[in-house]
């Protein structure tokens, strides 16, 4: 084995090396200078992003005997995940410092999670995919339980761990059936075997697919496997929630794309129905239950379930337009989610978690600029033009219509209207209610700057979505 054989995996290798550097450096950093770990982590992300960009090409390369694939799709996903993790780290810094939680482990576990996601995005075999998923999940379990003294965090971490282990078991069980039927773990070989033996399209394979969809739906947090999501969003500290709510969604999409499209694309007719049921339930339950929430993290959790419904319906179409729409939706959704949770973090301060929706009351009177940013995020998620959520939803609805399901499209529009209610409620509180608390935000200038950029990006992407949309279509077309 020489260097050229492992060079496609340069981003993962770089990140692993940087994790080791951060791990060792963190040992020698005194507690009062812990912020050094933060800057080292940001540097690791920057180096990783640089390596991804430098090694980018439009070609698809396999490595490690076909268990690793480097294609435009994986590179775009990796770059976005790296960026959003960096943004999350930045939002988290002041909050962690104020709450005496600024420990190297937060950043280390975050970086390990990113490594897991990158492994998933580039996985070309079921084994690699599963290992990447476990790397990600293990980091997430530990991150949720990160605050030791909090019983709430421990409870949600325990719940997440047990349910996550069951879901991983279901996924593995499905994998074992698919492996048993097709005799290979590599996605392109699975596709080839199924193409050449149409007789394999039978109950054993469907059985395996059903179990794998259970695992995938759990990782997405789609109904009926969503039970963990609101509890974990609420129980974890806000910076951890921000982390879970953003980058892992791209990794879940990679899981879905690689297994169902790359591996089992031929059996689109088989998994389409299962995905549809999961997606429609997510849309309905996510949007309706979110209305009843008074905790904004919980509300955003249910809204995430509803957004997952959109993403799954885009994949459900089975067309390239649909896949591109799903990718576009996920990438733009995580920008909005990062911003919304960034606002929750911004409003929190020492010993006070701004997690009730009423904590947003009168935000306009306290700070008009950040009220405007929150308005951007809420309008974006609700799908109001010209914010980017509108374009994303429009794309998905378009793809569903093209695939010939007008009923589903109507349902999506109705669900969005229901969803608009709870986003608008936050805006109502911010602009038309008197503030209950007038404390000053305690974050530093760079956090505020990036949060503002984040808000402006939601608007700018909505006005000029063309380039990202084209990029998504290109990337899907090349993969």
């Amino acid at each position: 084995m020489n260097l050229s054989q492992i060079s496609p995996a340069a981003p993962e290798i770089t990140l692993t090396l940087m994790i080791c550097v951060v791990l060792l450096a963190d040992l020698f950093v005194p507690q009062e200078k812990r912020v050094i770990t933060f800057w080292l982590s940001i540097a690791s992300l920057a180096v990783t992003a640089w390596v991804i960009v430098v090694t980018a090409s439009s070609a698809t390369t396999l490595a490690f005997d076909g268990s690793y694939v480097s294609d435009p799709l994986s590179r775009l996903m990796k770059l976005c995940a790296t960026g959003i993790v960096g943004v999350g780290f930045l939002y988290a810094r002041d909050y962690l410092q104020q709450n005496d939680l600024l420990k190297g482990e937060y950043y280390l576990l975050g970086l390990f999670g990113l490594l897991g996601m990158m492994i998933m995005m580039s996985a070309n075999s079921l084994l690699t995919m599963y290992l990447g998923l476990e790397t990600l999940s293990l980091s997430l379990y530990a991150l949720v339980a990160f605050e030791r003294e909090s019983a709430k965090a421990a409870e949600s971490a325990m719940k997440y761990f047990v349910l996550g282990a069951i879901a991983s078991g279901a996924l593995l069980y499905g994998i074992s059936w698919v492996y048993g039927v097709t005799g290979t773990l590599h996605f392109h070989e699975i596709a080839e075997v199924i193409r050449q033996n149409p007789g394999l399209n039978d109950v054993p394979l469907w059985f395996g697919i059903a179990f794998m969809i259970v695992g995938i739906a759990f990782k997405f947090g789609a109904v009926p496997f969503h039970m963990w999501l609101p509890d974990v969003y609420q129980g974890a500290r806000s910076p951890v929630t921000l982390y879970i709510a953003t980058a892992p969604k791209i990794a879940a999409l990679a899981l879905l794309f690689r297994i169902l499209v790359d591996g089992l694309g031929e059996l689109h007719g088989v998994w389409q129905g299962m995905i549809m049921v999961v997606a429609v339930l997510s849309l309905l339950i996510g949007n309706i239950v979110a209305i009843a929430q008074s905790n904004i993290k919980r509300m955003l959790g249910y809204s995430a379930i509803a957004h997952v419904g959109f993403i799954l319906l885009a994949v459900f179409t089975g067309s390239e337009t649909g896949y591109a729409a799903a990718l576009f939706y996920t990438l733009t959704y995580i920008v909005m989610a990062a911003g919304a949770f960034g606002m929750v973090i911004l409003l929190s301060r020492q010993g006070f978690e701004a997690e009730a929706i009423r904590d947003f009351k009168g935000l306009n009177a306290r700070n008009p600029w950040f009220a405007l940013m929150m308005l951007f995020f809420m309008f974006g998620m609700a799908g109001v033009p010209p914010w980017v959520g509108f374009i994303a939803k429009l794309n998905v609805i378009n793809a569903v219509l093209e695939a010939g399901f007008p009923g589903l499209a109507v349902l999506m529009v109705l669900a969005s209207v229901v969803g608009a209610y709870y986003y608008l409620r936050v805006i109502w509180y911010m602009y038309f209610d008197a503030p209950e608390d007038r404390s000053v935000f305690q974050s530093q200038a760079d956090t505020r700057f990036v949060l503002s950029l984040n808000g402006i990006a939601v608007l700018a992407l909505g006005i000029l979505p063309g380039w990202l949309l084209k990029l998504c279509i290109d990337v899907i077309g090349h993969s």
Binding site: T16, F64, S67, F112, S125, T135, R148
Partner: protein
């Protein structure tokens, strides 16, 4: 023939050891019986020429897991009678599970006897073939990526476990060896010069 005698004698010891795990009164004895059971299974694997599995079983289970068990059993000071109490309570469930396993075994044996399910007898591996080597050569070539990721997961598990469990407990008395070694007489003893006093 000799092979069969070996197999049945080792298998018999294995069954006896497994029964010993359940019926031993002393938990330490039970762990020892479990060690014996693992050892016998390893020997059975050796008979089947699966030497890698045999080695791993002895190294990992006997060498590491069972030692850990012993530590736990000795440290926890298990009340034997308390555990006995659950014995009859769980017996029905245990019988059901055992019955299921017997049925499954019977099915497998019955299937083997049927037409079209001809199973080759045990075929010895050729001279000089080592399945340890064969496993090693795919593990470090074809599956090297998965292997490395598994290593990263272990590192992650260490980081996660330490971050979740290590903390400074208030009131915990710790030794600081460095400062103990570096201590000087002046830090501990204060010599006060004073005029001698005469007893009255």
């Amino acid at each position: 023939m000799f092979h069969a005698i070996l197999f049945y004698s080792f298998a018999a010891i294995l069954v006896v050891a497994a029964l010993g795990v359940i019926f031993a009164r002393n938990p330490v004895h039970a762990v020892m019986f479990l060690v014996l059971a693992f050892f016998q299974s390893a020997v059975l694997w050796l008979l089947a020429e699966a030497e890698f599995l045999a080695i791993v079983l002895v190294l990992v289970y006997v060498g590491a897991v069972m030692v850990l068990f012993l530590f736990v059993v000795m440290m926890l000071d298990v009340e034997v009678e308390e555990i006995r109490g659950g014995y009859t309570r769980y017996a029905p469930l245990g019988i059901v599970i055992a019955g299921l396993m017997v049925v499954e075994l019977a099915q497998v044996i019955w299937l083997r006897g049927k037409e079209g399910f001809a199973v080759d007898g045990f075929r010895p591996t050729p001279e000089g073939y080592s399945n340890t080597e064969a496993l090693g050569s795919v593990l470090y070539t074809e599956h090297v990526y998965a292997f490395e990721i598994a290593a990263v997961i272990l590192l992650l598990a260490i980081v996660a476990a330490i971050s979740l469990t290590m903390r400074r407990r208030p009131g915990l008395k710790q030794q600081d060896i460095a400062s103990q070694v570096a201590v000087r007489a002046q830090d501990r003893v204060r010599i006060v010069k004073m005029a001698s006093e005469k007893p009255e």
